[in-house]
Symmetry: C2
Subunit: 211 residues, 2 copies
């Protein structure tokens, strides 16, 4: 089994390192980070670069596709080399997945038409432009399509998907191994829970980021 | 302000990408990934390499030190170039922190003597060999020393530390931006919560990993 994690300039690291840490524990599977060209790919902060070990063209038929989100997504919404690869990979994948605004790339490739899907809460509305049905759930399964909400939700998606692939006990062992017993010091992780003025602050900023 | 994130061969990616994603949002701070030598550093799975943009020697006085855990830690417990750098960096740091078995490296450098500290649950006992006082808490503050439990706990540590540095509202905004509203599909993230036979399975495996 091959798991391809798709990154690009100005991706968000935790979007994909969450699922990587969980799904790289699928028994007998190879995980590979891919980008349009192999080489270093830098996150939106500029502070972290990871190695895309292979180019998209070198990984034509992965079993699982995981597409990162991040501010760089908006520049790729009509970038055919990526969208074509997504369509081709999806044609033979077992699971096609995304975290955060990565679902907008799946949607732009036409893969989420008529499907329930999620995204970062600030990007959720944009999904319907492409015929997807946005839902505010943290992890959404619709057939073989699995989308996760913002940034950190990829960990939850990874565990849910690992359970489907390798069984609940294996997923629980990986949860215990990664000591995923979250205890956030605040309860502000969703727009429903965060103070209203902080939600508005991020909405105001996002006009510049997401438009 | 400069934040140095210390990685090494066979580190665990989520250990440091969690805190990176949070702490890189400290206003006006630079975050830099460092290793003994600059260049690509690969995780224990072999599937992911990140760029250590600078060598330890190029970052002599960071304000915040974050030390990764991971299977590679055990090979470094008497590696003086790293331990010496940790001691020197700690002499002028504002915060000295670790995730997972990274606390064993801080302890081996003599920095946790008489201090309360935590680590991955499978590594917790080893802390006392170096005069630290192990506690099973997920994030432990003792003066300027902040240690986090296994792998995913670095996200919680990052938010708690960000709150101390930049205020609760900024930390809440970052929690909302990263949509950190965890909803694990299982409740097996600590040895107290996981099924007993899964805890024993990991303990048995760890004899080979951690000894």
């Amino acid at each position: 089994m091959q798991i391809a994690i798709v990154v690009y300039d100005r991706f968000t690291a935790l979007d994909v390192v969450g699922p990587y840490e969980i799904l790289s524990r699928v028994p007998d599977a190879e995980t590979v980070f891919v980008a349009e060209e192999a080489g270093l790919v830098r996150t939106e902060t500029g502070f972290l670069a990871i190695s895309a070990d292979k180019a998209l063209s070198e990984v034509p038929g992965p079993d699982i596709v995981v597409v990162s989100g991040g501010p760089g997504q908006s520049a790729l919404m009509d970038h055919e080399p990526l969208l074509d690869w997504l369509r081709a990979a999806d044609a033979t994948s077992t699971w096609t997945t995304s975290v955060c605004s990565g679902s907008l790339l799946l949607a732009a490739a036409g893969l989420l038409k008529g499907r329930r899907a999620t995204s970062h809460w600030l990007a959720l509305d944009q999904l319907s432009r492409f015929g997807a049905e946005p839902t505010g759930e943290r992890v959404v399964f619709d057939g073989k399509y699995v989308t996760a909400a913002g940034v950190s939700s990829g960990i939850d998606m990874g565990l849910a998907l690992l359970g489907r692939i390798a069984g609940d006990e294996h997923a629980q062992a990986v949860q215990l191994g990664t000591e995923y017993d979250p205890q956030p010091p605040y309860d502000a992780g969703s727009p429903e829970k965060a103070p209203a003025h902080i939600v508005e602050l991020l909405r105001a900023r996002s006009r510049f980021i997401l438009s």
